[in-house]
Symmetry: C2
Subunit: 415 residues, 2 copies
């Protein structure tokens, strides 16, 4: 029996969500395909095409905030109607980033080809790329790949589409869900890739979500925005913002079930989308390059800016991450990371607990059960809680450890 | 023959500065000692005492900005007259950080003991500690150590003082300089420790500087401030701000040479202090835990906030650091790090050069000599230059690589 999709203790499967078999196909109104266009030296699939056949598809999108955003991100943001995307052309093997105007023109050619091959206006074709930064897109290979993929589009093409967008991913991040809403049953699928928030040699985070529910553009945008903030925005492998991060939600409406604003349907659909994206985010962290252990840091108190800075500092501290890797109970590194993130606040009265064992109160070390802590930090998932003075804010960040394997992947296997 | 102190291509020894032998002793008016107080399990020296015998010593100080600043930092900042410090009590083996009010009281006891042993008021005794965070100071051992050290104070005690403040340092960071000023010859010594901006298990950066020149408190403060900004503020091993960072400049005036404000003497003395601290900062980076290669990133253009954010992002990117380690020419990681540091600026027209080889212009990859770049990134010191659109700002950061050894030091050798 396949491993359950919802597998982390930090994400609960909502009771109205059911996991379907991996081969249950896309939600109604969608077809997809993945082919080998020849962008990867390995010869693995590297071009994916996703099409929504609904008369009036609705979509929502989120992108990287990077100042060095890649050509496909810029082109999709600037030239597409993000609320009515119908086609997604995704490739691995080349990020088309740091490629300037030529990169934009290359991307535009592939967008035009995908529009022609699917009978769509180019403004409805989103582009997403992942792979090495600084390489120019092999346009001819892409154009041939688009034609090949368009000939193979299938309602069961989600697995091959997923395969085509993967890079260093060690395992598949794909979900086929069924969601019971008060107004009826809908489907919710996703294909996602990412092994590190970013690893310019190979990775980047992409996520494509399909549903046969009918959502207005405003509802789709609202729900995607909220859920991305609680999932992909809360995950860090190495604190590195990608040039290519893209998350798209496409709604075909083929189920005939409408998710109206501020309805119970919206609440339930939102819960399902939230759990889906959080589990995918955790899978990306768990599949972080070289990751052995997974952690969650929760920071409470202070103010929104403070808890965010503190949580990110802990999650991105190489010292905290190395200690996580080594199963080292050295919580002084948590104190150091938080102190470094909140300069000028000394003496900071912070509390620290690891897996529920409080080790520091109001800035001072406590006498705690060292054997219990030693055991707790050697678990596969480790939870840190930090309390700052004051009330009113809290946040969390999921992160992976810093291992020899991370160094090996990113240093020893050179380009 | 001993290796020269000024050994980096990125720091030039000013022509009026001469390196003296390591055993040439402290500048006039200073005595120091290092002893084993028993704080380190290894039995290595762990307590240092530095005393200025001048009638009216002048001093200046800089400390970590960490919100979790350690007890010795807080006590020295709040209770000492930082412009007339006479005594420094420094210890390794315990950072006295995350120790709350008890930590402050423990520190105060050792301050009182050092004051009594040297016949000074406690307000003139600075404290500096380095070692494990979250451990309470072994006060009794410290008090005995203070007495032992005070009995061994010597004008040639700088080497043993240096030894007592070291932790994971692989080599000595100590200078004995002679500086020719228009008004006469003065001495300038320093003892420094640090292998990583921070490594809470062991490290932290401490630097003590002595001169027999006579400076006003304002001049000492101005020069130390400017030079720290150009040295220790520009160095990063792992981007982690310490709880204990301390830099102190003590001036005995014993040479009879006065460094008057806005004089040629001040200019020359400042140049010497600047070169001294920059070389020490580079030594700390070179001695960064597991460091194999050293890098400098220079960012020009844009605005002050932008160049600072971009330079720090490059210096602290685990992907850039892993590529530096592997001798990997993957400059896409530079683009990614800069883009991540400057969100919302896409498409950023940035230029990138490595060791003078331009690889990216106005955001687009160039056709460059790959063999030359492959060779350049395998050197011991690698220089990256980033150009942002606009003019008017520039900065630099020195950093080390991310190696297997860093992971080993910080993960595998657990506390």
């Amino acid at each position: 029996m396949a491993e359950a999709f919802f597998r982390s203790r930090w994400v609960e499967r909502p009771p109205h969500v059911t996991e379907l078999a991996g081969d249950s196909g896309l939600p109604g109104g969608f077809r997809a395909a993945g082919v080998t266009a020849g962008l990867k030296p390995s010869g693995n699939p590297d071009l994916g095409l996703l099409v929504c056949d609904a008369p009036e598809p609705v979509s929502a999108a989120r992108f990287t905030a990077s100042g060095a955003a890649a050509a496909p991100v810029l082109l999709t943001q600037e030239r597409c109607n993000l609320h009515s995307l119908r086609v997604v052309l995704a490739n691995s093997g080349c990020a088309n980033a740091a490629t300037g105007r030529r990169g934009l023109e290359d991307a535009a050619k592939t967008q035009g080809a995908a529009a022609a091959a699917t009978g769509t206006d180019a403004a409805h074709v989103a582009l997403a790329s992942t792979g090495g930064i600084s390489q120019y897109l092999p346009v001819e290979a892409m154009l041939k790949g688009v034609l090949a993929a368009s000939a193979r589009l299938s309602a069961h093409g989600d697995a091959s589409f997923q395969e085509a967008i993967q890079t260093t991913d060690a395992f598949e991040k794909r979900a086929n869900l069924q969601v019971e809403l008060p107004s009826g049953t809908v489907r919710l699928n996703a294909q996602c890739k990412g092994a590190g928030m970013i690893s310019p040699n190979f990775a980047t985070m992409l996520c494509f979500i399909e549903t046969d529910a009918a959502l207005s553009a405003e509802t789709a945008d609202l729900l995607l925005g909220v859920c991305v903030k609680r999932s992909f925005d809360r995950a860090s492998v190495d604190g590195q913002l990608s040039t290519n991060d893209t998350a798209l939600l496409l709604c075909s409406g083929a189920s005939g079930v409408t998710v109206a604003p501020e309805s119970e349907d919206e609440l339930r659909f939102g819960e399902a989308l939230d759990a889906l994206l959080r589990q995918l985010a955790l899978m990306m962290v768990a599949d972080g390059e070289g990751a052995g252990r997974l952690a969650r840091v929760i920071v409470r108190g202070g103010n929104p800016g403070g808890v965010e800075a503190a949580a990110r500092a802990v999650a991105n501290s190489p010292l905290v991450k190395a200690a996580l890797h080594g199963g080292d109970p050295n919580w002084g590194r948590i104190v150091q990371a938080v102190g470094g993130a909140l300069p000028g606040t000394a003496p900071l009265q912070l509390d620290v607990a690891i897996e529920g064992i409080q080790v520091c109160s109001a800035g001072a070390a406590l006498d705690y059960d060292r054997a219990a802590l030693d055991e707790a930090v050697k678990r596969h998932e480790v939870e840190y809680e930090v309390g700052l003075p004051g009330e009113g804010a809290d946040t969390e960040v999921f992160f992976s450890d810093l291992s020899h394997e991370y160094v090996t992947v990113n240093a020893d296997y050179t380009t």
